[in-house]
């Protein structure tokens, strides 16, 4: 990006993209022709892009064949299966959408309203009753009938949320060996108020260890902010800025950063910082909390995790004895559900086939597990009804195909195989919590940012200027919070709040009818 304006870079990308797509279009038609000759029956072709958090295999053809064998037989759809790493995914999908390349089914990774406001995704409400009956049924059964509200704007359903453990209560994740060494019983940690005593004990016994890890991996998604959201029932109302939220159920849109909930949370972190429980440079460090803990320099951090088996998974991952304790409940607002949503591109010519495929993706055990684990016998071995393991002498990095670390994202978690050793009851617990966790009364409201785009872009900037230092306790809240608030006002926070309040009122009125 050096020496090049961001704008001109994008422009050239668009131009190059459209040139490339012209070529791509040709090859598509030619392959279709050859397909037509062998099977007269109409087989629709769709492109399906899945993010994988594991190694991307070089050769997908075998798995693609296996997927196609299922889909052509069951719904007459051929799938062009693409797999991208998490860092590439959004970029690759965006580029395809912007340049008009073929891209039918993809997931949002947190950008739901963005895609909708730019009309990049197709409305599905007319196709679902016919081609997505089972899909709707399974979502109703597993989550409750209102889940599709979170992807509905102006009466159009734009996406299908993934069916997995969506409640992510805030956990304190800590090194159990260090806790024992400090002479503290795990049961003494029940809420956030119990933490300072624990940190103090750890600091005294192990002076070289940082008691509480850096939390500023991403300013708007820190453990602290999520803890405040869950503990005080804060609904961010679908944008990530935090200047227009509702706290509790009074229906009043306020600036979160002016609230007592925020001030108290920041003060707590400031007290921890002053007591020396955090690193001096928490606000700017690029080392993640996980790295701190796995290197043995850190004792704990906050994180949102579903289920109770997190400790086991993390222990295996970081090579330390990790345990977790839930310290705040989760609170369902709209974005908590629609942040991982399967969508169909608005430029797709095969929307019907795409919905048929989505339907299968949520309901067909064979398809789901082929996508996740590959081919039985080669990539995985069956252990029992719900569990699989790697073939002899292989692990996640040496099997020919594996995408299983994207699990949860593909369709319904209850139909997915789990790796050997993971307690099946945890999957059931996750499903139960999807139904039981408290929901915001504004669950289903989606903010249309179109009117205040300018203000939001300016506010984003102010937030990234002040929030990291505040949530890490490294600045004095007494003097910085007022500066933060006045900078937000300058950037147009009031306009965002007004616009949101208006839309929320209209939405509430529509709900009563």
């Amino acid at each position: 990006m050096k020496n090049k304006g961001l704008g001109s870079l994008l422009l050239s990308m668009v131009i190059c993209g459209s040139l490339l797509s012209a070529c791509g279009g040709n090859s598509n038609t030619s392959s279709k022709n050859s397909g037509d000759t062998e099977a007269k029956a109409k087989v629709a072709e769709i492109v399906f892009a899945l993010p994988s958090f594991n190694r991307i295999p070089d050769d997908l053809s075998k798995v693609t064949e296996a997927i196609n064998a299922i889909t052509t037989a069951k719904i007459g759809v051929k799938v062009d299966f693409r797999l991208f790493g998490p860092a590439d995914y959004a970029q690759k999908v965006n580029l395809a959408l912007q340049s008009g390349e073929k891209m039918d089914v993809f997931t949002t990774l947190g950008q739901f309203s963005n895609y909708v406001s730019k009309s990049q995704v197709a409305p599905l409400e007319e196709l679902l009753p016919e081609h997505g009956k089972e899909l709707t049924a399974i979502l109703d059964k597993d989550f409750g009938p209102d889940i599709l509200k979170t992807t509905t704007m102006d009466g159009h359903i734009y996406g299908i949320p993934v069916n997995k453990g969506m409640a992510l209560p805030t956990n304190i994740i800590y090194n159990a060996d260090m806790l024992a060494e400090a002479g503290v019983a795990a049961d003494s940690i029940q809420s956030v108020e119990d933490l300072p005593a624990v940190f103090g004990a750890v600091k005294q016994k192990l002076p070289d260890v940082v008691p509480f890890g850096p939390i500023n991996v991403n300013p708007t998604d820190t453990g602290l902010v999520n803890w405040m959201k869950g503990a005080s029932k804060v609904d961010y109302l679908t944008d990530t800025t935090g200047v227009g939220v509702v706290i509790g159920d009074n229906g009043k849109v306020v600036n979160f950063y002016e609230s007592d909930v925020f001030k108290n949370g920041i003060q707590m972190m400031r007290d921890w910082f002053d007591a020396g429980y955090l690193q001096k440079d928490t606000a700017t460090t690029t080392i993640t909390a996980m790295e701190m803990v796995s290197s043995g320099r850190g004792f704990s951090f906050l994180g949102g995790y579903s289920g109770m088996e997190v400790g086991k998974q993390l222990s295996a991952q970081v090579g330390k004895n990790i345990e977790t304790k839930r310290i705040a409940p989760f609170y369902f607002d709209t974005s908590a559900v629609n942040s991982v949503t399967w969508m169909v591109s608005s430029t797709s010519k095969e929307t019907e086939a795409a919905v048929k495929f989505l339907n299968l993706l949520y309901t067909d055990k064979e398809l789901i597990n082929t996508i996740l684990f590959g081919i039985e016998g080669e990539d995985y071995l069956k252990v029992d009804e719900h569990h699989v393991k790697f073939p002899e002498g292989m692990d996640a990095n040496t099997v020919p195909y594996t995408a299983m670390l994207s699990s949860g994202i593909v369709g319904s978690e209850s139909l997915q195989y789990q790796l050997e050793g993971i307690d099946w009851s945890d999957v059931e617990l996750k499903l139960k919590e999807n139904k039981d966790t408290a929901r915001s009364p504004y669950f289903g409201f989606i903010f249309d940012q179109g009117q205040v785009k300018t203000q939001i872009s300016a506010v984003n900037n102010v937030v990234s200027q002040f929030l990291p230092a505040l949530v890490s306790g490294s600045v004095d809240p007494e003097t910085i919070i007022p500066k933060f608030i006045s900078a937000l006002k300058d950037a147009g926070a009031e306009a965002i709040i007004d616009s949101k309040q208006q839309q929320l009122d209209a939405w509430l009125a529509a709900q009563k009818q």
Partner: protein, 309 residues
């Protein structure tokens, strides 16, 4: 470059080899600089993918407003301009000094060795450089705090949350990185100066300093003007790596590290709006273009010989 000869139009036969030589370069500019220019209209559109880029609504200058939305608008414009002016002024001076010193170095081997050493920083990527800087300035274990300030009993400085040090740091880093590379052109120009001028000066009794002042610098003037003019065009752009990566995107430093490029990046990270990005790019390019024209006009007025066009 100093002597311009006016020649009558040559027949194609003579210029054809030159045209072929220029071909790949021209093609490059056509593809990378001229084709994308058609995309400029995106800056005036509310891009809607269902309608397509060409079918989207025109919205006039609305995409540009976010650049001037906050009080930060003044800060980022000031930073961009002042940093670039400092880079141009100091960079030029340091580059020329390096070039002159190198050319005075008679031993070929040493001169080659130093030159290589001076160019090396230019090859380091900004990401790596930011980590190098971090190793120096990190609050807990950084070299400056850990090995200089602490042993001397001086108060430690939390570099990444104190904005006031960064104007000096950034200028220093930028000069360190680019001055060696920048000196190459000057070095080449000096090498091209007729040696007999120096010899006659020597005979007339001029010392080294006088030679530099009376011969080298005046003869370098056209080169300096051309290079400064070219960098003027980029005065509203900034090296994203230097202003975003090197300060580790620390919010506390925005008052002295925020430039137009980093502002645009931060503001549009979540929105992902190509209309607004295009607007920002267009704004920067137009201001740069205007500046080049202005400075060139001034140069033309003062000394028509040295103007770029």
């Amino acid at each position: 470059m100093t002597a311009r000869r006016k020649s009558p139009s040559k027949p194609l036969k003579k210029t054809l080899p030159l045209l072929i030589l220029a071909g790949p370069g021209l093609l490059y500019f056509l593809i990378n600089s001229y084709f994308p220019m058609f995309g400029v209209f995106i800056a005036f559109k509310d891009v809607n993918y269902a309608k397509g880029i060409f079918g989207s609504d025109w919205i006039g200058f609305k995409n540009f407003t976010f650049l001037f939305q906050t009080s930060d608008a003044w800060i980022m414009t000031r930073n961009t301009l002042l940093y670039n002016l400092a880079f141009i002024a100091l960079g030029t001076v340091v580059s020329i000094i390096i070039a002159i010193l190198m050319s005075e170095l008679l031993n070929k081997l040493y001169s080659k060795l130093f030159m290589t050493g001076l160019i090396l920083p230019n090859l380091i990527s900004m990401i790596v450089l930011s980590l190098l800087v971090f190793a120096f300035l990190n609050a807990d274990s950084g070299f400056v705090n850990h090995s200089i300030l602490r042993p001397l009993g001086l108060p430690e400085i939390n570099w990444y949350s104190e904005a006031k040090y960064w104007p000096y740091l950034l200028v220093l880093i930028q000069i360190w990185k680019t001055a060696g590379y920048g000196s190459i052109v000057y070095f080449a120009s000096i090498a091209g100066i007729d040696k007999s001028i120096y010899e006659s000066a020597k005979i007339d009794g001029a010392g080294k300093l006088k030679q530099i002042r009376m011969i080298t610098l005046p003869l370098l003037k056209p080169t300096i003007i051309v290079l400064v003019l070219m960098s003027m065009g980029r005065i509203f752009n900034s090296d994203f790596g230097l202003f975003y990566q090197v300060p580790m995107n620390s919010g506390a430093l925005y008052s002295t590290t925020q430039t137009i490029d980093t502002y645009v990046y931060r503001a549009l990270m979540q929105l992902n709006d190509i209309g607004m990005s295009a607007a920002a790019g267009l704004y920067q390019s137009l201001v740069g273009f205007a500046l080049v024209l202005t400075v060139n006009a001034i140069v033309k007025k003062v000394n028509p010989e040295n103007a770029l066009f």
